[in-house]
């Protein structure tokens, strides 16, 4: 692990907390009938650690040295391009009737996962370049 990892650990912790809250809220939502305002607040609860996670990512990037920032920028470009190609590619094939037309609520979790997978893949590829 690099010298910058100490700022990354809270980010991972917040991501895990957000995921746990998402599952817990979904479970409560199914089990209990809640009044409107409480239901909305409970549904939005996982967004709090998620927002803190993005703030943590910004702090972590600020703490990186110049080459590490360049590596992450190039990884983000890879991630952005790959995710865009995936979304546009799937959309085009779905419109042509070659793939099922998925509802948005089913697409988002997979898309979120793809963002992180492409970021990790981009990071691995770019790091090789500067090794």
């Amino acid at each position: 692990l690099s010298r910058f990892s100490d700022k990354l650990f809270p980010v991972v912790g917040l991501a895990v907390l957000s995921a746990v809250l998402t599952v817990a809220v979904a479970w409560v939502d199914r089990a209990v009938e809640l009044p409107g305002a409480v239901h909305v607040a409970l549904t939005a609860l996982p967004l709090v650690p998620l927002a803190a996670m993005f703030f943590g990512i910004a702090r972590w990037i600020e703490a990186l040295d110049e080459l590490q920032r360049l590596i992450h920028l190039e990884a983000f470009v890879f991630q952005f391009s790959a995710t865009g190609l995936l979304v546009m590619g799937y959309g085009t094939l779905a419109r042509a009737g070659l793939l099922p037309d998925l509802p948005v609520s089913r697409v988002f979790p997979g898309l979120w996962l793809a963002v992180f997978v492409f970021w990790a893949l981009g990071l691995a590829l770019v790091r090789r370049k500067y090794r």
Binding site: S2, R3, F4, D65, E66, L67, Q68, L70, R127, K129, Y130, R131
Partner: protein
């Protein structure tokens, strides 16, 4: 841009990790600069000059404009 970073570091018997610590950067950054895969920013280059107590131009050499500049890791007599 060529540089004499590896040579200067070896003279002081510092590891890449030790130099990285002194400069406040990662070991990968020191390695990438030494191998010429990354050119440091001016602030980092000046930090290196301060650390090695040498003028910046004795550590870094821009090479010639056609890209075939002399290797800064090679001394004036051709020895490394």
């Amino acid at each position: 841009v060529n540089n004499r970073l590896r040579l200067l570091r070896a003279e002081r018997r510092w590891s890449q990790a030790e130099l990285a610590d002194r400069l406040g950067v990662s070991r990968q950054t020191v390695n990438a600069i030494e191998t010429g895969k990354y050119d440091p920013s001016l602030p980092l280059a000046f930090a290196m000059a301060r650390l090695f107590e040498q003028p910046i131009e004795t550590i870094f050499d821009p090479g010639s404009e056609d890209g075939s500049g002399r290797d800064a890791t090679v001394g004036g007599d051709g020895t490394r």
